[in-house]
Amino acid sequence: MASTDGAIKEPILAADGTPLKQALRRSQARERRAAFLLVAPLLLFILIVFAVPIASMIWRSVYNPEVRNFLPQTAAALQEWDGEDVPPEPVFQAMAADMIVGVEKRTIGRAAARINREIPGARSRMMRTAREVDEWSAPYREKFLEADERWSDLDFWRLLKRETRLVTPAYYLLALDYEYTADGEIRPRPEVYRIYKALFWRTAWMSMLITGICILLAYPISYLMATQPARVANLLLILVLLPFWTSLLVRTSAWIVLLQQQGVINELLVALDIIDSRGRLRMIYNRTGTIIAMTHILLPFMVLPLYSVMKTIPPSYLRAAKSLGAHPFRAWWRVYFPLTIPGLAAGCILVFILAIGYYITPALVGGDSGIFISNLIAQNMQGSSAQLKLAAALATILLVAVLVVYWVFNKLVGVDKLKFG
């Protein structure tokens, strides 16, 4: 607070003459140190198992070392080349030198594999030439072209020049269904290969749908819990938390028993003559299955913050609103609902962010139409090094999406106002 009379300009001193602020800081330093030491182990743990892997993943998604590291002289020589004609002698000479080193160090295969990914057949040509090159002498250009006329292919050299950069956006382009042409232009991939963007959208809208269903289911039950006596509320809470207490496989098999075409629900509907036997509903191994199962699993994350916020709202607020003449719905909308927003927003952000990265449930009950982007990330992680990098790019995009959602929430509601429990 500002001094009331404005006359005090000199800093206030402690008894020994040091400025009061400094004395205060010193006296609190011990506590600060102790606090830091308390959290240090966790901090270290998070750094090692969380921050470092994420940083490495992001790096890996753009890291492109093959040409630069394994064909270093060629990479340097190509910088001079204008890309209009078959490269001049120095490029071929550099290539020959790189190949000799590469065969010795057994690294040439990795460079060849990298090129082969975009120009099929390039690998076998490179490997064959590499085996012979140590017997050749200058001028190399003729020797190369003699051995295989495809060495005059301009696309090959353009690709090589493009890939000399250590950092490449290629995997991100791929993750968004674009590709590089050999001469560095970006264009959409052929229609049959475009899967990732659609899957991102599907992941997003299905997560939103799941969040919405969770709100519809959680709001009334939370209200009930908040207004019931503790005994009833605890029982309801246990029922809500039940999904956490059952094993994933038990839960999934329960859903299969219930939802499959020969399952309980279908049999019941057939028995009641609501549907005929040929019109049995498909409720599992598709989108419906993913939505039902994930809503069930994520519901507690909506209920808990809502419940904890609603519990703090005294019933007298609603009574007051009604006594002031507001219709019960209006009383709820004007008075009760605004007070639950911190819990509602916390629930939404929890459910949505968990849903958007969910893997196991879509994999088990999602079939083809119900899988999420995480399932493709997982699939790519088991593949070659290039697929691994694609997986890293996809995962990084997902991470950024989550951060954006968080940022938007912060703008709309204010994260400091959220109440998670």
Partner: protein, 393 residues
């Protein structure tokens, strides 16, 4: 609802309203004979086994300040909630201005209410809180603003610095005033108050008691006030209904309640009270001869005890004289001084009288007042009409 009647009491200047102490029931009101609220054989049970309110009958006049007083769990708040519509009556009917309201939902009753915890909406400013009842009634913005200003003026918070604040930024007393203003801003004919001063400290509470009383007097609204504080009830009320165990023990004006309690619960609950236990020997022309436990015979007004019955005699501490002369008291008994407590304006002397060691005598601390020593033996006496023979609990 209230505001359609055209009697906009907030739009007339409050300062110029009826002077304090004027008759509270306006004589021009043709319906003034009809009670504002009428409880007709109302019963309430929560569990179907015990009655929280047992056969409650009460008529509250228009413009009256009626307090429901009683210990917690005596059914007073339940009665208030039944008027407000938050609790249904299990049996019986409540009439509001002649209309049965059992099936009218709370928001259509048009009753103002002040809650114990104020129940100000925390996400709205003070002005928004006050405008809420006007807004739901579809009152135009300009008129609403005027009414909000009037209501805030009335509770002395109209200087403009409070309009934009949130309830959490106000002190307890200020929140209480806002809650009061909000309950009055839509000009209800009836205002319910559920222990509204319970959370305030003693000094503020006493100040607010007078302020609420003055607002009531100047507006002429009917108020039903619930409290467990007997001092508060005595200060503010026109009439007090003393509740115990789901039954109204006595319904009377404050001075009647204090000076003429009808049973020993009321005598104990309202004010300080000395109790002597004895047995009624005989009753003659309304005067009972009572034999105390130590065998002494005293006379008392026979209020609530028959011949041969055990009785509790009730005597107010300030009506007892020490060493009285014959003209003041009809009767004296022996007492032994146990303790003398000096309280500045008065002195309390605790004595043993007829086996009761909690017999308190209050004497004014006037010039030359006699100070007794513990252990001394004195005579104490009182007028027969100050000693009431009541039921034995």
């Amino acid at each position: 609802m209230g505001e359609t009647e055209g009697e906009s009491y907030l739009l007339s200047d409050v300062k110029d309203a009826e002077p304090v102490g004027s008759p509270r029931v306006s004589s021009g009101d043709v319906r003034s004979n009809r009670p504002m609220v009428h409880f007709d054989k109302v019963q309430k049970s929560y569990d179907g086994e015990t009655l929280v309110v047992k056969n409650f009958n009460l008529e509250i006049r228009k413009g009256e300040f009626l307090t429901m007083l009683g210990p917690s769990g005596s059914g007073k708040t339940t009665c208030l909630m039944m008027v407000a519509g938050f609790e249904p009556a299990t049996h019986g009917e409540i009439y509001l201005d002649g209309q049965p309201i059992n099936s009218v939902p709370p928001h259509k009753r048009g009753i103002g209410m002040v809650f114990q915890n104020y129940a100000l909406f925390p996400h709205m400013t003070i002005a928004e809180n006050l405008a809420f009842p006007l807004d739901v009634r579809g009152i135009g913005k300009a008129e609403a603003e005027k009414k909000v200003q009037r209501a805030l003026d009335m509770v002395q918070m109209g200087d403009g610095s409070f309009h934009g604040r949130r309830p959490a930024q106000l002190s307890g007393g200020q929140q209480q005033r806002v809650a009061l203003a909000r309950a009055l801003v839509f000009e209800p004919k009836l205002v319910l108050m559920d222990e509204p001063l319970g959370a305030l400290d003693k000094q503020l509470r006493e100040h607010m008691q007078l302020e609420i009383k003055h607002i009531h007097e100047s507006l002429g609204v009917t108020v039903i006030y619930v409290t467990h504080d007997q001092g508060e009830a005595l200060t503010m009320s026109d009439r007090i209904a003393v509740f115990n165990d789901g039954v109204v023990q006595q319904l009377a004006a404050p001075e009647v309640l204090y000076e003429k309690p009808e049973n020993s619960f009321v005598a104990q609950f309202i004010g300080e009270n000395n109790t002597l236990v004895g047995k009624v020997k005989a009753i003659n022309e309304g005067i009972a001869r009572v034999e105390l436990t130590d065998g002494e015979i005293v006379e008392a007004l026979a209020v609530n005890a028959g011949p041969g019955e055990r009785t509790q005699l009730s005597i107010r501490p300030e009506r007892v004289e020490i060493d009285p002369d014959e003209s003041v008291s009809d009767h004296t008994v022996t007492a032994r001084v146990e303790e003398v407590i000096y309280l500045g304006d008065h002195i309390r002397t605790r004595m043993t009288v007829a086996g009761n060691s909690d017999f308190v005598v209050k004497t004014r601390n006037r010039l030359g007042a006699r100070r007794l020593d513990p252990g001394a033996s004195v005579r104490v006496g009182w007028a027969t009409e100050d000693c009431r023979a009541l039921d034995h609990e």
